[in-house]
């Protein structure tokens, strides 16, 4: 049952990825403007142009180009970046860890802030505190990450300049890292001075990404907590003499968390989508920032590669959430 569900999802996932590949390929081939013309020195001859076109496979028909590219992708060859003249997969893997670290920190913050607000709100049902949490989460939710980023830049970059508003790490530091997972590696190497520098750079973009999601979690989790808190088994726990906070943490939370979990999965993909502009805003050297440069430089192979990697990330997250839901939901587990 579970296995069957898994394979069906896996199949739809592949269909989706194939669809993404076709759409991105068609969209950027329609683009006016010649990527080759931009990389040539002035006075290049027609022969030079033709030679470069052939080198990047741009002299073949679109359908041919698509299948050549697809065959390459299936072998792990995403082509060569036109503007950076490096292997696309290498470039993507070089930047992806920065984005993953940022998105993960943002997700953890969103869950922590959102769950705290939800528990506080559910604990003080019907009071001014709950109303305050409702209003705050409603407003937080409506303001997107881009605007939060700008607000944070103003508050903590200019008004009270405590955090860095640009880059991933201070440029003057010597980095001993061998992977691109700087944050993880700095902790593992016990170089907490570097960890602190990384956190100082990451905090504001992460908060900007986390706030809208935190608000959604606060609203949904509070709602499910309130529903669960009226059920018999919770009333029983209360009669046994547990305090309201204990009742929520020990009894209600695990049953109320399931609907929130599904939602967090979908919202996490939105959060990752948001890294594109937030990274740009904070000059954070991640995948999204590179993607915008790739579009501006009309670097077709690089755009294709990045979009496909984002899409892969999205469908994998959805698959993971779906499986987790099936595992945790008793009705599906035994159904």
């Amino acid at each position: 049952m579970l296995l069957q569900r898994f394979f069906v999802r896996l199949l739809t996932m592949l269909v989706t990825l194939f669809g993404v590949a076709i759409v991105v390929f068609v969209v950027i081939r329609v683009a006016p403007g010649d990527p080759i013309a931009m990389m040539l020195p002035p006075g290049a001859s027609n022969d030079d142009i033709a030679r470069l076109r052939a080198l990047y496979g741009l002299d073949k028909s679109i359908v041919q180009q698509f299948f050549i590219w697809l065959a390459g992708v299936l072998h792990g060859d995403f082509g060569t970046s036109i503007s950076l003249r490096q292997d696309v997969l290498g470039l993507v893997f070089n930047r992806l860890p920065a984005t993953l670290e940022l998105a993960t920190v943002a997700l953890l913050m969103a869950v922590a802030i959102g769950a705290t607000a939800a528990i506080l709100g559910a604990r003080s049902r019907g009071t001014a505190l709950e109303a305050g949490i409702d209003i705050a989460s409603g407003a937080t939710l409506s303001i997107p990450d881009f605007l939060w980023g700008l607000v944070l830049i103003l508050l903590f970059g200019v008004l009270v300049p405590v955090f860095d508003i640009s880059g991933r790490v201070s440029p003057q530091l010597d980095l001993p890292f061998i992977t691109q997972f700087y944050l993880v590696e700095s902790i593992l190497r016990l170089r907490f001075d570097l960890t602190w520098d990384l956190i100082k750079h990451m905090l504001m973009p992460a908060v900007a990404l986390a706030l809208p999601l935190a608000a959604i979690i606060a609203q949904l989790l509070k709602q499910s907590l309130k529903e669960v808190l009226d059920l018999d088994y919770v009333v029983l726990a209360r009669v046994k003499g547990f305090s309201e906070t204990q009742v929520i943490l020990r009894e209600a939370l695990k049953n109320a968390a399931l609907p929130t979990l599904t939602l967090v999965g979908v919202q996490f993909t939105f959060l990752i989508g948001g890294t594109v502009i937030v990274e740009r805003l904070f000059s954070y050297e991640g995948l999204g920032n590179m993607a915008i440069d790739a579009v501006i430089n009309r670097d077709l192979p690089l755009i294709q590669g990045i979009v496909l990697v984002f899409a892969l990330l999205f469908v994998l997250i959805n698959l993971a959430v779906d499986m987790m839901y099936a595992l945790l939901n008793p009705r599906l587990r035994h159904g």
Partner: protein, 282 residues
Amino acid sequence: MDEARIARRASSPRLWLAGGWLLLALLAAIFAPLVAPQDPLAQDLMLERLPPFWLDGAEPGYWLGTDSLGRDLLSRLIFGGRIAFIVAFAAATSACLIGSALGLIAGYFGGWADRIISRIVDVWMAFPPVLFAILLVAVLGTGLSSVILAIAIIDWTRFCRVIRAEAMSQARMDYVESARIAGYGRIGIMLREVLPNVLPSVVALLSLEMGIAVIVEAILSFVNLSISTDDPTWGSIIAEGRLSIHQAWWVLVFPLITLILTVLSFSQFGEALKARFDPVLR
């Protein structure tokens, strides 16, 4: 019913506050040449980086100060509102029409139509939306119509998903069955019976989408990919403000406040309207 009445009463000040700001901003944009105190494009290096009126060094007539080229900030914000509202209305309406039509078809007819439309939605949802928008505008070429088209092409799925789910649940209701027995055709039922019932959701989403469209336009301006660089847009003013943040904070603060108020108003206005017109709540 009591709770519904409370919800409606609570939605009233929200409706008026949000609607009031939107109306004010819209009127200012429409009558921009009459309202704006200065020419939004006029540069004057003698007047560069003037602070807003309550600070020392402010000039009369330049209420919110000037940017690094000496252009009046308030006038630029008022004129920038024109592009923001055009994009909001045109892009959101287009996305709404495409998405609602496909959502109604998928939800009400089901079967193959539903399967195909749902697959397309899946593919669309696997794109990071901001990157998709930037990519589309780069492909279509910068300009007002490209921005509108790009937003519509990306965001129709928001309407499609909600309307599909609503149409599905409506299609199973008794009243649809009675209409079918009474001899109405499928399209007739869809337009006469199902559509009016999904309308409150559509209205709320439409208002929300207008706010999103304003943000997307600002993001595109911010990465220098929206309208021509001469016309002031809220996003291009923000981009300038981000650059001169340490010399002239007001160039970032005022467009930011304008954007936040507008986005908040669009979403609150939609929610309040939905609460008011939802047949179930009423």
